[in-house]
Amino acid sequence: MLRSLRSELLKFTTTRAWWVLALILFVWVGFTAGGIAALGGVLVDESQGMIGQDAIPPLVYSVVTATGYVFPLLFGALASTTEFRHQTLTPTFLATPRRGTVLVGKVGAGLVGGVVFGLVGLAATVGVGALVLGIVGVDTALDASETWALIARALLAMALWAVIGVGLGVLMPNQVAVIVSVLAFTQFLEPLLRVAASFWEWTAAVGRFLPGAATDALVGSSIYSLASAGGVSDALEWWQGGLVLAGYAVLFLVAGALTTWRRDVT
C-alpha cells in the first residue's frame, strides 16, 4: 500500500502537468483575491456600515476554493486518465496486480496533491489578498483563529476535490471528455444551477448538495454567498459540506472501480 502511494507520488513529480496547473492556480486565484480585496475596501467605505470590515477577509481568502477548486479537480482527473491515455496501466498493473491497491495509492497521492494545490492557492489568496487588504486599509484578520480555521477547512476542501478528480478520471477514462465535462460543469452549469436553485425553497434545499455549494459550506465563506444574498442561511454545516464532497468522491471511485478499473488492459 505504502509502495503504491510512493509510486503514485513519483508519477506526479516526474511529469510537468502538476506544476503547470499549480502555477496557473497561483496566478488565477492570486489575481482574483487581490481584485476582491481592492473592491472590498471600496465596499466597506461605500456601504456605510452595511458591510463590516470583518466580512471582507474570509471572502478574499476563500477565493482559493470558490474559484480555484477546479484545479485540484483537473489535476486528479488527469492523474487517472493519463494512465489510460498513455497505456501506463500496463506497467502499473504488472508491478501491482491487485488493482484495488493501486486505486487506494492513487487516492492517497490525490489527497497529498490536493493539499499541495491548497497550499499553493492559499499562498496566493492569503499572501496577495492580505497585502492588498493592508494597502486599502481593511483589517487582514490574520490574527483571528477563525481565519486559520477557514484556511484549514479550505485545505481539506482542495484535498477532497483532488480525490473527486481521481474518481472522475477512473469513471471517465477519456481525457478530452473529462476535461470538457469538468470545465463545462464547474464554470458554466453549476453556477447557473446554483442561481436557478435559489429561486424556490425546495430547489434551494436540493441546491445545497451541489458540489460547489457543499464546498462553500465546508469552507464557510465564498464570493457566491454575496451573489445569492440570504441563501447562506440554509446552507449546510461545514462538516456536512465536507461529507457531501467525500460522498461524491466515494461515489465516483466505487463506480469507476466496478467498471473501467476492472476491464481488460489490451
Binding site: 509502495r3 503504491s4 510512493r6 509510486s7 513519483l10 508519477k11 516526474t14 511529469t15 510537468r16 502537468a17 493519463t82 498513455h86 497505456q87 501506463t88 496501466l89 500496463t90 506497467p91 502499473t92 498493473f93 504488472l94 508491478a95 501491482t96 496486480p97 491487485r98 495509492g105 481488460d264 488492459v265 489490451t266
Partner: protein, 299 residues
C-alpha cells in the same frame, strides 16, 4: 537460478463475438529459450496479456509454477514482462519511468541505473521517452522486464524495431538468460527472426495450438530441394526427369526435388552434362511454418 514453469491450460478468451484464444494449452520450461510464434492476429498478445493478469480469461488458466500472476507475492521479482505496445508516458524520462514502477515493487534507484546500463540506455536515461526511437523503447521495455531480476521473462516481439546490431545483441542476451536457468518466452510473427535464438517452439494459429516441440522436430518435417544448372539445361532436365525427380525451371536454375545433391550430380555425370551449379537448399522450414499456421507455403 531456476525459473518457474509456465503452464497454459485450456485457455480461451473471447472479445464479444470473436474468439482470440481457443482452448489453448502448452508448457514453457526453464533453461531454454522458447519461441511463441504465429501470424499477426493469431492470439499471441492476448495469450501473453492473460498470462500476466492484464486480461481476464473467458475459461482456462495461465500460471507460473501453479500460481496465477495476481497471486505472486513479488510479481516483478518473479516474472519480467515486455509487451508489444510499449506503454510509456512520453513526458517522463526512461529512468523516471523505471523509478515509478520500481517504487511500486520496492526496487531501489541503484537497480534502475544498473538495468539501464545493461540494455545500453545509460546515456539516454534522463531524456524524455517521447524522443526515443522504436529500438530505444524496446530496450527500455526490456530494462523494465529485467528490473526485478526475475526467473521468468515474457517478451512480446522484443526483436521488432531493433537494428541489426541490436538483434545480434538480444539473441546472445536471451540465450545467456536461459543458460542461467531462467524461463524465457519470446513471441514473434517471423520464424526466421527467432530461428537462431530459440530451442523450443510453440506455434499457434487462429488462437489454437499448431505445433509444440523442438526446432529440430519442425525441421524433420521439411523437404529439401536442390538447385542445379548447366549450360545445356534441357539435357540436364531430361536426365533428371528420367531419374524420377520433380524438376521446375526457374531464373536461377532448375529446382529439383525427389533427389538429393549427390544423386543429382551422379545423374548429370552419367548423362554427360557438365554442371555449372549444384546447391542443396533447405527452404522448407519457413514453408512448413506457414503451412502450419494456415497461410499456405510460398512456392
Amino acid at each position: 537460478m531456476t525459473g518457474a514453469v509456465i503452464e497454459i491450460t485450456s485457455l480461451t478468451k473471447r472479445f464479444g463475438g470473436t474468439t482470440a484464444v481457443d482452448d489453448l494449452s502448452f508448457r514453457v520450461e526453464p533453461g531454454v529459450v522458447t519461441g511463441f510464434l504465429g501470424p499477426n492476429g493469431a492470439g499471441k498478445t492476448t495469450t501473453l496479456r492473460t498470462l500476466v493478469g492484464l486480461v481476464q480469461p473467458t475459461a482456462g488458466t495461465a500460471t507460473f509454477d501453479g500460481k496465477r500472476y495476481a497471486e505472486l507475492e513479488k510479481p516483478l521479482h518473479t516474472v519480467g514482462t515486455a509487451l508489444e505496445a510499449a506503454s510509456f508516458h512520453p513526458g517522463r524520462s526512461g529512468r523516471d519511468h523505471l523509478r515509478v514502477v520500481g517504487a511500486a515493487a520496492g526496487i531501489p534507484t541503484a537497480r534502475v541505473d544498473e538495468v539501464l546500463a545493461w540494455v545500453g540506455l545509460a546515456d539516454a536515461a534522463k531524456r524524455r521517452v517521447g524522443g526515443y526511437s522504436l529500438g530505444m523503447r524496446q530496450r527500455l521495455g526490456l530494462a523494465f522486464a529485467l528490473l526485478g531480476d526475475p526467473g521468468v521473462l515474457v517478451l512480446d516481439e522484443p526483436i521488432n524495431g531493433l537494428d541489426p546490431e541490436g538483434i545480434r545483441w538480444i539473441r546472445g542476451f536471451l540465450q545467456g538468460l536461459a543458460a542461467e536457468g531462467r524461463t524465457v518466452l519470446v513471441s514473434s510473427h517471423l520464424l526466421s527472426e527467432v530461428q537462431q535464438t530459440v530451442d523450443r517452439l510453440v506455434i499457434i494459429s487462429k488462437g489454437r495450438l499448431a505445433y509444440e516441440g523442438t526446432l529440430d522436430g519442425l525441421e524433420a518435417g521439411t523437404t529439401t530441394r536442390v538447385r542445379v544448372d548447366a549450360a545445356d539445361r534441357d539435357a540436364l532436365a531430361r536426365a533428371l526427369t528420367a531419374a524420377g525427380a520433380d524438376v521446375t525451371a526457374a531464373a536461377d536454375g532448375l529446382h529439383v526435388s525427389g533427389l538429393d545433391a549427390d544423386a543429382v550430380g551422379a545423374h548429370a555425370l552419367a548423362a554427360g552434362v557438365a554442371l555449372r551449379l549444384l546447391v542443396p537448399e533447405r527452404e522448407g522450414l519457413e514453408n512448413t511454418f506457414l503451412e502450419l499456421v494456415g497461410e499456405g507455403g510460398i512456392r
